[in-house]
Subunit: 308 residues, 2 copies
């Protein structure tokens, strides 16, 4: 059974599904933890947003997540306008679907007003109040929604509880007329350093959500490595294992070479890279970039001897 989730920009259609190449939802346009970006966005300077949009799409992002969480005291007043402007700027420079990322419902609504095509609403949880506020918007705009598997009781360490919450959200969405293929379940990734087998939990939920709920899945992968040494490597192997488990997309950073390499390798091994074209291309780009760097860094004689 292959479930396909369709998102759209004005001219591009991106199909998310386990029998398709993995879809990268670029995570960089997010001022949380990026103080400089937050200050710029608040001051109306969206140049970094513009550059991050272009760079991520060039690197392979097929959808861009746009978050306008500025950490201000009055987010309900400030963030809707910032969200609108950020999405407009992104849509000005790249033609990819948007994932509207906010915990502030008016910011989600503002994003839906300006996002062209069929965007993603990121996110709803199993909390009653959230579902009642978010689902009507998702239904009205015909959007895709990310369902995060926590509720009023918090985030459970028990994967069975997280699956049960996901099930409840999917069923509630259906009652609002949102079909299962338009719900991307986020099984919530725990840090492997705190929860033994955090990865395995996610692989199991991904399979259950696909087989029992008929939904695709998504996650922010990098939480898994929180507190561990060599986080980049952990994240990269985790992504390849998520792909083996059948997760069809993730919110991640395509500008991180290890992540991109993991995705391209896993896609190829899953049979989603005809003639290994993307893998070979990535390796050529890497070789070219390394050659380019060394051309600057090394004297000509050493360069020649290296190539001999």
């Amino acid at each position: 059974m292959s479930i396909e989730t369709v998102v759209k920009s004005p001219t591009k259609t991106v199909v998310i599904g386990p029998d398709r190449p993995f879809v990268i939802i670029g995570e960089r346009i997010n001022p949380t933890g990026r103080k400089k970006l937050a200050a710029e966005m608040l001051a109306g300077d969206f140049s970094r947003v513009r550059n991050d949009a272009i760079a991520q799409v060039q690197a392979g992002a097929q959808i861009l997540d746009v978050n306008a969480g500025l950490g201000v005291a009055n987010p309900h007043e400030i963030e809707p306008e910032v969200m609108k402007e950020a999405i407009r700027v992104v849509q000005d420079v790249v033609d990819v679907p948007i994932s509207i990322d906010s915990s502030v419902v008016p910011a989600l609504k503002a994003g839906l007003e300006v996002a062209q095509g069929k965007p993603i609403v990121n996110s709803v949880t199993g909390e009653e109040e959230r579902m009642e506020a978010v689902f009507p918007l998702v239904a009205e705009y015909g959007a895709v929604v990310i369902a995060i598997s926590n509720d009023e009781s918090g985030i459970s360490y028990d994967p069975d509880v997280r699956f049960a919450v996901a099930k409840r959200i999917v069923e509630r969405a259906e009652a609002y007329g949102i079909p299962r293929e338009d719900v991307l379940v986020d099984p919530l990734v725990m840090p492997a350093g705190a929860v033994q087998g955090a990865g395995k939990q996610v692989f199991d939920i991904v399979r259950r959500v696909r087989e029992e709920l008929g939904c695709n899945t998504v996650c922010g992968a990098s939480n898994v490595s929180f507190g561990l040494p060599n986080r980049k490597a952990v994240n990269a192997y985790f992504v390849s294992m998520l792909i083996a488990a059948g997760m069809p997309c993730a919110i991640t950073n395509p500008l991180e070479p290890a992540i991109l390499e993991a995705i391209r390798a896993a896609d190829m091994l899953m049979g989603h890279d005809e003639n290994c074209t993307n893998w070979i291309l990535l390796q050529r780009q890497k070789a070219a970039a390394e050659g380019g760097e060394s051309a600057e860094a090394r004297p000509a004689r050493r360069r020649r001897s290296r190539r001999a």
Copy 2:
């Protein structure tokens, strides 16, 4: 359902199973494609065998594969004695179970005569003649056997055919009194550059073999990257995905840093590395090794400023 395959050296017991840490069967003691090693072994010089044994166990191999394929014209006369001597040498310097690796039945028999504990016989295929020759030996010595899923008709590109061959081998083994937990099925890894979705094929067979046949699986992972650029990265991601699919062991090279890192990361993510001990240890060893290298390579002042 957790199937456990037990192998033994004189004093060590290694348990192979999907709910256990991944078991590395060190592949280095194999003269195929190592001309120097072949010549030495033929001349009775086993110093490299000894060193390879020690190095692989230090790096994390829990079982050592010993192959005595010298490419000689009369293997049935030469290889049994070479196999015996190689195993004796290995058992002299390390205390790990042995995987006796040969396509020459008398060499398998010779290996069984000297291997202590409960070794692995590598391998039998679905060819009638092979099964009739190998199974009585495996049953007599109470060994574990690797069942390679090809037969008289060759290696099928169709994973369903390979599964069917594996099923037939497992059933025949049972008729010889060899229990299912003592058969490690090798689903045969095709090159991803030649067979689109070669990885996915293996992940699916691994699951079917576990669920439908009740057997553990093993493979030589590196064939997947044949002909592709950056084989080391492909192999490493493939191993992590194999672990996600539930393969509990592989014949591979623990001296290859990317492979070892992939295994340690995947083990941790599967919940088979309590407190992330092995992952953290590996990263410390890496940092120490890099520190050691730079101590030699860089002048003292730069080293200090790096550490500031």
